[in-house]
């Protein structure tokens, strides 16, 4: 056996794991949910509104829905359906992209 863990090693690992737990909890504390929704099509801002007023936005190829403080791509006629599969987003800096139809939904 080449590896002999000493007492100090265990302490170092425990401290590192504590740091990990601390950073995870820091992330949860600082996590802000977003407020504004912006929808872009062909790089043009089509819609800007609150995340908390339920609406549906009809685009030329897509249907975006805002419901219960979450936004998602309800329908899309694109081939890969990645945007629809992305699911619901609610946190700041998250986004849904539909590349074939050049649609970007972002939360801020």
């Amino acid at each position: 056996m080449i590896l002999k863990l000493k007492k100090g090693d265990i302490i170092v690992i425990i401290v590192a794991v504590c740091l990990f737990v601390f950073s995870v909890s820091l992330c949860f504390l600082l996590k802000k949910s977003g407020k504004q929704v912006r929808v872009y099509e062909n790089n043009k801002l089509i819609f800007e509104g609150s995340l908390f007023s339920d609406t549906e936005i009809k685009l030329s190829h897509n249907l975006v829905a805002i419901k219960n403080g979450k936004v998602y791509m309800k329908k899309s006629d694109c081939k890969n359906q990645i945007c629809v599969k992305t699911g619901m987003i609610e946190n700041s800096r998250e986004c849904i992209v539909c590349l074939p139809n050049k649609v970007i939904i972002e939360v801020e």
Binding site: L3, K6, D9, V12, L19, V24
Partner: protein, 173 residues
């Protein structure tokens, strides 16, 4: 006379060894890019170059570890990086070697502990700099970086223990 000659010899030997080790570090930096660790999470790398500094610390050559590490950072910044990347790696590299040396002073820590302490320090310092210089969003990346530092620190420790056994006769000053 003889003693002087011997001194000169050992000086030349240490200059040679340090330069070879520094070049090793830079080559390791390239080899690292061939290992697709970025697939797990972007920005993560193994840190093979640290195994050299770690090995020197295992041998008790603290001056050599600081020298080789600083030379590696400066050279790879001149060759591949920018002034901005130099700031990042110099701060993080120096901090991690300092922590390694401090941890190594304790007799009850083996290479595994030294390596993990250095790796975690490196990633934490780098995230801290990015937090103040770039944006606050990088903070959410810290947990991934810490957990990867623990794993890669362990791997690097195993590698350097294995290699240091082979190099013991060459690297003894």
């Amino acid at each position: 006379m003889f003693a002087e000659q011997g001194d000169n010899r050992s000086r030349i030997k240490s200059i040679c060894i340090y330069s070879v080790l520094t070049v090793c570090c830079i080559v390791f930096g390239y080899i690292e890019t061939l290992i697709p660790t970025a697939l797990i999470a972007p920005g993560i790398k193994l840190g093979l170059a640290n195994s050299v500094a770690l090995m020197l610390i295992i041998f008790g050559d603290i001056k050599g570890a600081v020298l080789v590490n600083t030379a590696r950072i400066l050279l790879s910044a001149v060759l591949f990086g920018s002034l901005f990347s130099l700031l990042f790696s110099l701060c993080a590299g120096t901090a991690s070697v300092a922590v390694c040396i401090l941890v190594a002073k304790s007799k009850s820590v083996s290479a595994v502990g030294i390596s993990i302490a250095g790796a975690v320090t490196h990633n934490t310092v780098q995230t801290a700099i990015a937090f103040f210089v770039l944006n606050k969003g990088v903070l959410f990346y810290l947990p991934i970086l810490i957990i990867s530092a623990i794993i890669s620190g362990f791997v690097i420790a195993v590698i350097s223990i294995l290699v240091s056994k082979k190099l013991k006769s060459i690297l003894s000053f």
